[in-house]
Amino acid sequence: MTEYTVKAYKDHLMNEELVGVECKSCGHLMLPPRPLCNKCGSMDLGWRQYMGKGAVAAKTVITVPLTRFQDRCPYGVVIVTLDEGVSISGLLLDENIDVGSRVEAAYVKEEDGVVLAFKAA
């Protein structure tokens, strides 16, 4: 069985580590981890840690929230392209962030785990 699970990803988030996998066959980088390379199909993968720094590729501020996030409302969500070239979604902690802004990962601890977030770099 694969070790590259959602649970493993979430466990790393608890330690403020952003991890995915790197394909040893074709070099493709993936975040979050997956059991097989979605580019070449190889299962020869290895853990890859990301620095969590990057630029905002897309941004919204949500005013009609998910129930789970209603206490934060209104809240921002961003898609960030990390310096390593992969992209990931996260909660936005700072105002005055726009498409193109530099951000870095932050880890918001909640009762049932950690939510990946980004703040101004």
Partner: protein
């Protein structure tokens, strides 16, 4: 890419749809809505058609589980239509559920397994309030990596809008022209949820609040149009709706028995893409639309410029902009401007969503793809009423699941 083809030609011989609405159907369940649509479809067949004539049922229903606490809905509908023991298949591909059901039905006939099938979809959403509907729709996004960090379904399209504005210089003002146009069209459609122009809605709401709006834009910029997920406001979003649609498909050789004026399926396409929006290289385009459309155009041996009328998936205003670009009606980045210039209006060069689109017609998720086929069936038979496009011969249907992880495209031609 290999050239795909249908080994047996397929036609639409009938189509029916309930009115899509947020209040009208409050005393009905999904089963009653689907039966209503199917009965209308059967009645629309020129010569006698009975549900028992069909060899199978393909039903799109996104979330009967959450909305009605009911699973196994395809068997339920087959039972309620009196189709037993004919096989029934439920399709769940988010907002593309019935687009996929239509494709599956076409393939069932093309394969020789069936001669006649009923395809369609239903969604009974108004059992839940806005908050619970927001949570339910977010199930169509990645639960861990999108909804898990706060993304709502409108939020994903808002992210697409922010990227489109940044890359192509498109504007929120351009998006408003999509909403204004689709309400103008919806006013002409007796099946639409909102049969009012945005100006009429502005006047009505303004009167209630003691406000006067000179035009649509003043209203759309007012507090009466609140932000849902910036930059998208309430009128950038399709409404929550109850409704159903059903379409009857037949092999060409069998269709003759039922009608002299079938609508032929000339091309179909379907594609998947990454579940998470953030895994796509270009956030301003839905790759699955480009792929599915390419497949459908090739099979139909037509190009985008040949399409006379199109129903595209405008769950949000930005979605129609992106769709008209990805389908090849306009160059990338020019969809917003094209809509502003009226090129997609009823009298434009390529009328888009003459039925009011998801925005004004409504979006009972699982019914939408089949509802679009209902519209194109009527357009190509010249029976679309007040929103008829003159001499429409080639029609396109484009149905998107969530933020583009599933897309279906079909091309139809007057028989």
């Amino acid at each position: 890419m290999s050239v795909l083809s249908l080994h047996r030609q397929v036609s639409v011989i009938g189509a029916g749809m309930t009115r899509f609405h947020h209040r009208l159907h409050q005393d009905k369940q999904g089963r009653e809505l689907f039966v209503e649509a199917a009965l209308e479809a059967a009645e629309s067949v020129d010569n006698d058609f009975a549900f028992g004539d069909a060899d199978a049922l393909y039903l799109g229903y996104f979330s009967s589980d959450m909305f009605e606490r009911q699973g196994h809905t395809a068997a339920l509908m087959a039972d309620w239509l009196g189709m037993n023991p004919k096989p029934a298949y439920r399709v769940e591909d988010a907002c593309a559920s019935s687009g996929v059901a239509v494709n599956a039905g076409i393939q069932a006939i093309a394969s020789g397994m069936c001669d006649v099938v009923i395809v369609g979809g239903v969604e009974k959403m108004r059992t839940l309030g806005t908050k619970e509907v927001t949570d339910t729709l977010a199930l169509a996004a990645d639960a861990n990596y999108e909804a898990g960090v706060g993304f709502t379904f409108p939020g994903l399209y808002a992210a697409i809008a922010s990227a489109h504005f940044s890359k192509h210089g498109s504007t929120w003002e351009q998006l408003q022209q999509i909403a204004i146009k689709n309400h103008v069209n919806g006013k002409k459609n007796p099946k639409a949820q909102y049969q009012e122009t945005i100006k009429e809605i502005a006047d009505k709401l303004g009167e209630r609040k003691g406000m006067i709006f000179r035009d649509e834009m003043e209203f759309l910029n007012s507090p009466l149009n609140p932000v849902v997920a910036s930059p998208l406001k309430l009128f950038d979003c399709c409404p929550i709706s109850d409704g159903a649609a059903a379409v009857i498909l037949a092999a060409d050789d069998v269709a003759k028995k039922y009608t002299d004026t079938p609508v032929r399926v000339t091309g179909i396409g379907q594609a998947s893409d990454t579940m998470a929006l953030h895994d796509r290289d270009d956030l301003t385009s839905l790759r699955a639309t480009c792929f599915a459309a390419g497949q459908a155009y090739k099979m139909a041996e037509v190009e985008a410029r040949h399409v006379d009328v199109a129903c595209v998936h405008d769950c949000f205003t930005i979605a129609e902009v992106v769709a008209t670009e990805d389908l090849g009606f306009f160059a990338k980045g020019e969809g917003g401007e094209a809509a502003s210039e009226g090129r997609t209006a009823l009298d434009g060069e390529i009328p888009v969503n003459p039925d009011g689109g998801l925005k004004a017609k409504g979006h009972p998720v699982g019914a939408t793809g089949a509802g679009m086929v209902y519209e194109i069936f009527n357009q190509l038979r010249g029976q679309a009423g007040e929103h008829q496009i003159a001499d429409a011969e080639i029609g396109l249907v484009h149905n998107v699941g969530a933020a583009g992880a599933t897309v279906t495209v079909q091309i139809y031609r007057r028989g």
